[in-house]
Amino acid sequence: MNVVHSDFTPKSRDARVDKIIKLAIMAVGGQGGGVLTNWIEEVARNNGYAAQATSVAGVAQRTGATIYYIEMAPDTGRQPVFSLMPAAGDVDILLAAEMMEAGRAIQRGFVTPDRTTLIASSHRALAVSEKMVPGDGIANSEEVKAAAEIAAQRFIVFDMNKMAVDAGSVISASLFGALAGSATLPFTREQFEAAIRAGGRGVDASLRAFAAAFEATQAGAEQPTQAPEPAHKPLAITGPDALIDRWNALTARIDAYPAPVRDMARRGLRVVVDFQDIDYGEDYLGRLDAILAVDRADKEYALTEQAAKYVAKAMAYDDVIRVADLKTRASRFERIHDEMHTPDEARLMLTEFMHPRAEEIVGMFPARIGRRIEADARWMRRIDRLFNKGRRVRTDRLTGFVPLYVLGGLKGWRRRTLRHAYEVEHLERWLATAMDYLKTDYDLAVEVLRTRRLIKGYSDTHARGLSKFDRVIGAIALLAGRDDAAEWAARLREAALKDEEGKMLDGAIETVRSFVPEKAEMA
């Protein structure tokens, strides 16, 4: 029996236990957490510390949340007993390679006000559950930041990912720099850098990212630096003088609008003029004028403001001409060239993925002929056979560019098309519905305008959006007359944005039916 009965005299907590530095790294698989862990161990072991690292790899390395853990203490020649996993309330330094992973660390109790320095990158790597929502499912980083301010003893946060990418490196290097800069470990900058050099791969880029983050941390970039987007370039308009004059006349009309409406109306005008032409812009303002005439100052013109937004979106619908026009603009070519970091001597090939269906083709026909063809299933099948297939269009070549360019130039034809007729009918029916409710319930009218948000996407997605829109408008009809009608309308819209098929919406409509007395349902 090997009884180890040494000179043990504790009685109270061993002060040396508190000298153990406990550091956890929470990352997303693929962010280089393993490399970072090796660097930290290296710097500790080479500078008089005993260190132990562990990780939980497994399938988590495939884009899942992952955790690495390191403990270190001054090396006295006798090995301390280190823990293999972080414990809630017992972590000194927490490195979070992404904002929601910082949130997860806080949630798990690894960040506490008595001891934890939280070093987090403010950028987001969105989880699938956030991305797949038809509406806006992105988790709120501000909530995590607010919690971190309370939970952490010290909170160092900035976009370490951007810093790393700008330096041609990955986030592990900038996190390492921030760790060094935070002065929470008893090692010098040179000692940290030596660990990177010893790693031997991508050393220069890593050192650049390290230096940037080190300096940012030392300079006290502890406050979330707002995304350092370059200040907006002012709006510039070019074109024939006659058109510019007319444009100025239209914006002058907007200047006379009530203050709450102006910004949205200006944005809306730009969108519709860009979509079609200056005449179309006049039509747009005409519609706004009509709504403004019945709007109320005590409601801060919310109705017109929402109309300015959604009428513009409804008028600038996504048709073949618009797509072709956008795809063939010089500004787009320049943007892609920049985004792809195309070197000067390189060539850029561009492939577009188009898949027109019979509906899109017939939509281009004159309204009357289009309607007749559409009513004839045989014709539709024939057209479908001719056109319905995936087309790869090479817009860097004349053979691909010219047809799209020609299509994009068909604006003069647009107002005569079947699609345009449909869009105008839908727009007017929708506005009429809103105006109808306006007489009795101002807020409900505003909500009807906002419901237009549900219509987006192309082909099937567009059809599903339209169907959701119709269902919400139908349910609103049931609610009209109630005090909480507007509230419920907003709730229905939010529900419709939660999932693709509209299951949440159906549930919400069921609820509405459950408390609304039977009444003849309006279409």
């Binding site: 029996m1 090997n2 009965h5 040494s6 000179d7 109270s12 061993d14 690292a53 939980v56 497994g58 988590a60 495939r62 301390p80 823990s83 293999l84 414990a87 309330g89 929601m100 949130g103 806080i106 949630q107 969105l126 699938v128 559950s129 991305k131 797949m132 992105i138 909530e143 995590v144 607010a146 919690a147 939970a151 002012p234 070019t238 510019i244 910004d263 949205m264 809306g268 996504d318 797509v323 956008l326 795809k327 500004s331 070197p343 001597e345 060539r347 090939m349 577009e352 995936g390 817009t395 860097d396 070549r397 004349l398 010219v402 996407g457 192309y458 082909s459 997605t461 944005l497 693709e500």
Partner: protein
């Protein structure tokens, strides 16, 4: 070639006597095997011991220098069967796989091995995949040791202890003629540390030499009447021998004073967690020296009654720290105490949770609860009557922070397969879909949500058997190439042929055992110096009698994938239908291709580098594309424009241009927002000239249109 190369690290395996070996747990185990004169090694990859297989593969040269045979076995069963070499021959052998699932697969061979008993030391190194980071059902491998009567080591989780356990394991195995299982938990596999190395040892008898002098001992054959004799031998000879060896050699350890009112018994693997809790309670110092008597079971099966009873002598209560359930050790210890008529109280699962990992908080809370109950005077005053203001008012983030399960990597070739399957379900309705083990199982998670069960490796199609008699719809099963070669060919495909199953099987062939780190399998396309690769799955499937086989060589062709699936689901043919969908694992492909591409660009050769993009103005923010992808590089971007309510799709720089986005947009008729940009590096002069001419004409057309209308640039209103 595996995902992680240990080529650099394995050089350390040559270290000799007295040198300090610093590494992670798995490499230390490999070194210990060589120091013990092992004669042959094998295993099957799986977290957390995948890297052990990778290390062994990378160390093959060193192994063969020493005359050690290495096999990358076809399955855990095959690995365990290999230990048969130690039954008759005095050769040490070791195999490795994950627990508990690998042990499940191996259990047939293990049971036979345990019945026969061994002559040479037989060591089974099991990576226990339990707790955080685990990818399997939560069970214990412990039960297998109990049912088959082999011994289970669970050493303290530090490198010197693990290395010692390897040696002790072989010795114990030989002393008791019984195979020994050495269990290492997830974190122990990856824990770093140092130990003092010894010289590697050539096996006293190599397998080559043994082959020249065959031996057999009839008494070790598992057939009646010997099988009855073997059972007796187990309990009458091997078990007592093992206990005697454990006690004499001090395999279990004692820490702290020998006397004390209370004590703690623990699995060796729990030691560091227990010490941390004691350190936090002020009952242990930094080195783990403590005033609480500790009994550390580095051998968790069999238990040594006498040793335990001695430990309990004079104690009011002992606490058993045993992770997982059922609490086998605690039950046995209780029975030992009862039979001995001891008065010592037994604590364990009364203060510890029955299920789940013993995290730092669990350890602290449970051990504190034990002391409060059994020896409150040992606790510091402040612990006895805490006045800490409990939870600070940190806002609750549980509704904010999204879950982040693992998913398909950027550019994964499996993504388009499941996108196609989702499209088919859109057309033909929902189907009965069974999953299997492997990366493809991520398809059960959003956004695909395809597949509902996993019954075991290679058992996906077999798990649909009840539905394969035919009906209005057909069942679909997914099987990976790893699972196919592991067990699927016979248990799933052969089974379907024999039973004339009216079923559809999709075999996902990504050229590797990808989920476990990219090890080669039989159908891998790579040249492998020591393994035979390039055996097409489709040929094997045809070989066992499947008549309806479709080979797809480019899974990214979503349209073709969808049409093939539809054909399989609607064809008149009512036998088994197999689609082999082959494209290389992108993680491995990028690792191989990236440096090559960079080199080619540097050398001035023509290289096309594809990447996808999304036109902001065309994307409406409906995210339909994401619901058919989930690719990490296809994310969202919030525009600074009050006219746009929802964030739009955006593709970041990590895109590898696999093509899925464009294919899906086309096949699902989504939207025209996607484009592919191929940057052609070092185009030849003629190509450059032609593209310049086209560029000039395009530029002229663009200018012409821009001049005639209002053009807006910049932002703001």
């Amino acid at each position: 070639m595996a995902e992680r190369s240990f080529a650099k690290e394995v050089k350390k395996l040559k270290m000799g006597e007295g040198e300090t070996f610093t590494s992670e747990g798995i490499l230390a185990i490999t070194k210990a095997l060589l120091e013990c004169g092992v004669g042959y090694v094998g295993g099957y990859q799986g977290a957390p011991i995948s890297h052990l297989m990778d290390v062994l593969a990378d160390a093959e040269e060193i192994l063969s220098e020493l005359g050690v045979r290495f096999e990358a076995n076809a399955s855990e069963a095959a690995a365990a069967a290999m230990l048969a070499a130690s039954v008759h021959y005095p050769i040490r052998g070791a195999v490795t796989f994950k627990g508990s699932v690998g042990v499940n697969v191996a259990s047939d061979a293990l049971a036979n091995l345990a019945s026969s008993g061994v002559n040479g030391g037989a060591l089974i190194i099991v990576g226990e995949d339990y707790g955080e980071g685990s990818s399997i059902m939560q069970e214990r491998s412990h039960a297998f040791a109990m049912k088959s009567q082999f011994w289970l080591l669970d050493p303290r989780p530090n490198l010197p202890s693990i290395v010692t356990a390897v040696e002790q394991g072989f010795d114990l195995s030989e002393a008791s003629n019984t195979p020994v299982m050495l269990m290492v938990r997830i974190r122990s596999c990856h824990v770093t540390g140092s130990f003092t190395a010894r010289d590697n040892k050539r096996p006293p008898l190599t397998v080559r030499e043994a082959l020249s002098n065959p031996q057999r001992d009839f008494a070790r054959v598992v057939l009646p009447p010997m099988s009855y004799a073997q059972e007796k031998d187990k309990v009458e000879n091997r078990w007592p021998a093992a206990k005697a060896y454990i006690r004499e050699q001090g395999l279990n350890e004692f820490f702290g004073p020998s006397d004390g009112k209370v004590g703690i018994v623990m699995q060796g693997g729990m030691y560091n967690g227990v010490i941390r809790a004691l350190q936090r309670l002020g009952l242990a110092d930094i080195h783990g020296d403590t005033e609480i008597p500790l009994y550390v079971l580095n051998v968790t099966y069999p238990l040594v009654d006498e040793e335990f009873l001695e430990f309990c002598e004079g104690k009011d209560a002992v606490l058993v720290v045993e992770e997982g359930q059922p609490e086998f050790i605690e039950q046995q210890l209780g029975s030992i105490l009862y039979r001995a008529g001891a008065r010592t109280g037994l604590s364990g699962k009364d203060v510890f949770p029955m299920a789940g990992e013993y995290t730092g908080q669990v350890m602290l809370d449970s051990i504190e609860a034990f002391f409060k109950k059994s020896a409150p005077e040992l606790l510091p005053a402040q612990r006895r009557a805490p006045n800490r203001p409990d939870d600070t008012d940190v806002p609750d983030l549980s509704k904010t922070v999204p879950i982040r399960p693992p998913g398909f990597c950027t550019g994964c070739p499996e993504r388009p397969i499941f996108a196609a399957m989702k499209l088919v379900e859109g057309d033909l309705g929902k189907h009965q879909i069974a999953g299997d083990i492997g990366c493809h199982l991520f398809a059960t998670l959003p956004p695909f949500e395809i597949g509902g069960t996993t019954m075991g490796y290679g058992l996906g199609p077999a798990s649909n058997a009840a539905f394969d008699g035919g009906g209005e719809k057909r069942s679909i099963a997914v099987l990976g190439d790893g699972g196919f070669w592991h067990n699927g060919l016979s248990s799933s495909i052969g089974n379907a042929v024999f039973n004339k199953s009216d079923s559809v099987t999709v075999i996902v062939d990504n050229y590797y055992s990808a989920a476990t780190g990219g090890q080669d399998v039989m159908s891998s396309r790579a040249d492998n110096a020591t393994k035979s690769t390039k055996h097409p799955i489709a040929e094997a499937v045809k070989g066992v009698g499947v008549e309806w086989v479709r080979q797809i060589d480019h899974t990214y062709d979503v349209g073709k994938m969808r049409d093939t699936l539809k054909e399989a689901l609607t064809t008149d043919y009512d036998g088994p239908k197999v689609i082999v969908a082959s494209s290389e694992c992108m993680l491995n492909k990028q690792r191989r291709e990236k440096p090559k591409v960079a080199k080619a660009i540097r050398e001035g050769r023509r290289v096309e580098k594809p990447r996808f993009g999304v036109d902001e103005d065309i994307c409406t923010g409906d995210h339909a594309c994401i619901r058919l992808s989930g690719c990490p590089s296809l994310s969202l971007k919030t525009l600074d424009d009050p006219l746009r309510d929802d964030p739009i799709a955006a593709i970041d720089e990590s895109c590898v241009g696999c093509g899925n986005c464009g294919e899906v947009a086309d096949a699902a008729v989504l939207c025209p927002s996607f484009y592919r940009a191929d940057v052609v590096h070092n185009p030849p002069a003629f190509e450059r000239a032609m593209s310049k001419v086209a560029g000039r004409i395009i530029g002229w057309l663009q200018q012409r249109r821009a001049r005639a209308r209002l053009e807006f640039s910049g932002a703001g209103s």
